[in-house]
């Protein structure tokens, strides 16, 4: 049968538009995060719409697979099959079924990429390709069920059960369930899902699908085929579970994958290429802030490198040689310098009285010419009578310190960074 004929006679004619409409609702109601939030990182842009559409794609494929299989059974196709391969007939019928689900997985990400002006990359295709493979597996499973169950009952039940079974794993324990279901969370800047993360759902769905396909092999007695099929399916399911059972909330991801540009030495500052317009200023601010603080007597251990926090592991780098900060979105003057100042003035103790901490920062901001940034941060935290009183104390204290000699200021800053004594109004880490 020609593909266009298969398409025209298939349930896709009426189901396809409905499925695509449901997917299109993502853009009418669901896209809450603006494309700019992803900083042109294609894998993240692709992952966001997919997060809500995997279950729909799989369920549509499974339900329509049942429907088409039932249609063939009703037309007694299998009884009248002379020499044409069953697999060929099934593939011919299922291809129009999987296409709408593939479109559900490809079109929304494509639109998101276009809206953000980001070109797709090979890494960004990993999740859609995984989803497309799993779609085929769900279609095969649906087809197998439709060959034995009445389609009017099985098609909607399979579609709903499939959808819930995949969708609910998103927020459930144990974690391995969500890693093998084919449901994937959104990913962050610089992250790319590792191939093993994609392999787990493909292994589970693929094992079941291949097992079902083996039932149709024209070899050996039915019992033997059944045992073989069961073995393959079990291997797939257990293999996937074994693979994913120790994974935490997020599956294995490769981080720090975004291309970086770097500038300067002592410190060397690296930012993602999409933000490299700010690189030189960031490096100058970092360098100037560190040298000013050192000259003022602060015990600053300058890093070798400062890099962006989004494009790397969530935890801090080894020791204090590499600092990770929010450089990518720091596109205003003194945003980088202020972060460097706060990081450089490191307290020995985990908890420090609020007034002391703020005094240290205000002193550092004043010495490095970043008072405006300090005040903006305080305003962003919210202004109340209590905070005004605290700031009043802080300002008085810092004014007093700044009137002292250089040596006295050096002593003051070192003792404040070193002291663990607590006093009045709470603490800050």
């Amino acid at each position: 049968m020609k593909f266009t004929t298969a398409l025209r006679s298939s349930s896709v004619r009426w189901a396809g538009p409905a499925v695509l409409l449901l997917a299109a609702l993502y853009y009418m109601t669901g896209e809450t995060a603006p494309p700019s939030q992803y900083h042109h990182w294609a894998p993240a842009i692709v992952s966001a719409p997919l997060m809500t559409l995997y279950a729909l794609a799989y369920a549509a494929a499974a339900g329509l697979g049942v429907w088409e299989s039932g249609r063939l059974r009703k037309a007694h196709i299998w009884e009248s099959l002379p020499s044409r391969s069953r697999y060929r007939v099934a593939a011919n019928i299922l291809l129009p079924v999987v296409i709408p689900s593939w479109v559900v997985l490809l079109l929304p990400p494509a639109i998101s990429l276009a809206r953000s002006g980001t070109a797709p990359t090979l890494d960004s295709l990993r999740l859609p390709l995984m989803g497309m493979l799993v779609v085929v597996c769900h279609a095969i499973a649906g087809f197998a069920l439709g060959s034995v169950l009445p389609r009017l009952i099985a098609a909607p039940v399979v579609a709903v059960v499939d959808w819930i079974a995949v969708a609910f794993t998103r927020a459930t324990d144990p974690y391995w369930l969500r890693h093998v279901s084919g449901q994937f969370s959104d990913i962050g800047f610089g992250e790319v899902p590792r191939l093993v993360s994609l392999a787990a759902p493909v292994l589970l769905a693929g094992g079941v699908a291949v097992g079902l396909l083996l039932l149709w092999l024209p070899l050996g007695p039915r019992v033997l085929r059944g045992v073989l099929a069961l073995g393959v399916a079990a291997a797939g399911v257990l293999g996937a579970q074994h693979l994913a059972r120790d994974w935490p909330h997020d599956p294995p991801m490769a981080t720090g994958q975004a291309p970086m540009d770097c500038s300067g030495v002592h410190p060397r500052v690296c930012v993602p290429r999409v933000a490299s317009g700010n690189l030189d200023r960031a490096q100058r601010e970092a360098s100037r802030t560190l040298s000013t603080l050192q000259a003022a007597g602060a015990p600053v251990a300058a890093p070798d490198q400062i890099t962006d926090i989004y494009n790397g592991p969530a935890a801090a780098g080894p020791g204090d040689r590499v600092w990770r900060m929010n450089l990518m979105t720091a596109d205003r003057p003194h945003e980088v310098g202020y972060q460097v100042m706060v990081r450089a003035l490191k307290f020995r103790c985990a908890e420090v009285p609020l007034v002391r901490a703020r005094s240290v920062w205000l002193w550092g901001a004043t010495r490095t010419g970043q008072v405006d940034m300090y005040q903006e941060r305080r305003r962003n935290e919210g202004v109340t009578p209590e905070t005004r009183q605290i700031e009043s104390q802080v300002s008085d204290q810092v004014r007093d310190v700044l009137d002292r000699s250089q040596a006295a200021q050096r002593t003051w800053i070192r003792s404040n960074l070193d002291s663990c004594s607590k006093s009045a109004t709470g603490s800050t880490t």
Binding site: T52, A55, G63, I153, A171
Partner: protein, 192 residues
């Protein structure tokens, strides 16, 4: 009449439909899951989906027919079908109310109301799409989960996730059910 029941396979399908409604209802009536919607991740009662097998069985019943003699005969077969659908839907509603009364949750009672609503949708869709209308209730549920919640609060038009005491939802369900029955009786049957 017994031949009509035999043609519809009602002797087998009706008990199956009621069992396929009651057993899942008992099993999941206290379970809520977070499902990914297009706008958030609302907590959805699984009882929302419990009517689907029953509604599918109703479509299977209606499509088990001998088209030519029924369409060219003098017996009001469409009215018999409507009576059968009503009997099954009311039986499901009674089962649901019984489950709710025997210490179950109000979600069980809501599931009974939803049988009426989804059956009505099925019948209305049947006049336009024929047997493939069996997917209309599923599409409605996907739509509701997708865009029908603001946080965990269902929007006014969703009907199915409303509480059992919600009067507008009950009225709408009855109206849709009645409209569906009317369509079943008076609209010409669409060929599969």
């Amino acid at each position: 009449m017994r031949w009509w029941i035999g043609a519809r396979r009602a002797g087998f399908t009706v008990p199956l439909a009621l069992a396929a409604f009651l057993l899942p209802l008992l099993a999941v009536q206290n379970i809520r899951v977070a499902l990914p919607s297009l706008i958030g991740s609302p907590q959805i009662a699984l009882t929302l989906f419990v009517p689907v097998p029953l509604v599918a069985c109703l479509m299977h019943l209606l499509e088990s027919r001998v088209p030519a003699p029924e369409d060219s005969g003098v017996r009001p077969v469409a009215r018999y079908d409507a009576a059968l659908v009503t009997a099954v839907a009311v039986a499901a509603l009674c089962c649901a109310l019984l489950v709710a009364a025997l210490g179950g949750t109000q979600e069980a009672a809501a599931a009974g109301r939803n049988v009426l609503f989804l059956t009505g949708l099925l019948l209305l869709g049947h006049t336009v799409f024929g047997p493939s209308a069996v997917m209309v209730p599923v599409a409605w549920l996907v739509l509701v989960v997708g865009i029908g919640f603001r946080g965990n609060v269902p929007r006014w038009w969703t009907v199915v996730p409303q509480s059992a005491h919600d009067v507008p939802a009950a009225v709408v369900s009855l109206l849709v059910f009645a409209a569906g029955l009317t369509a079943l009786i008076f609209a010409p049957r669409k060929a599969p």
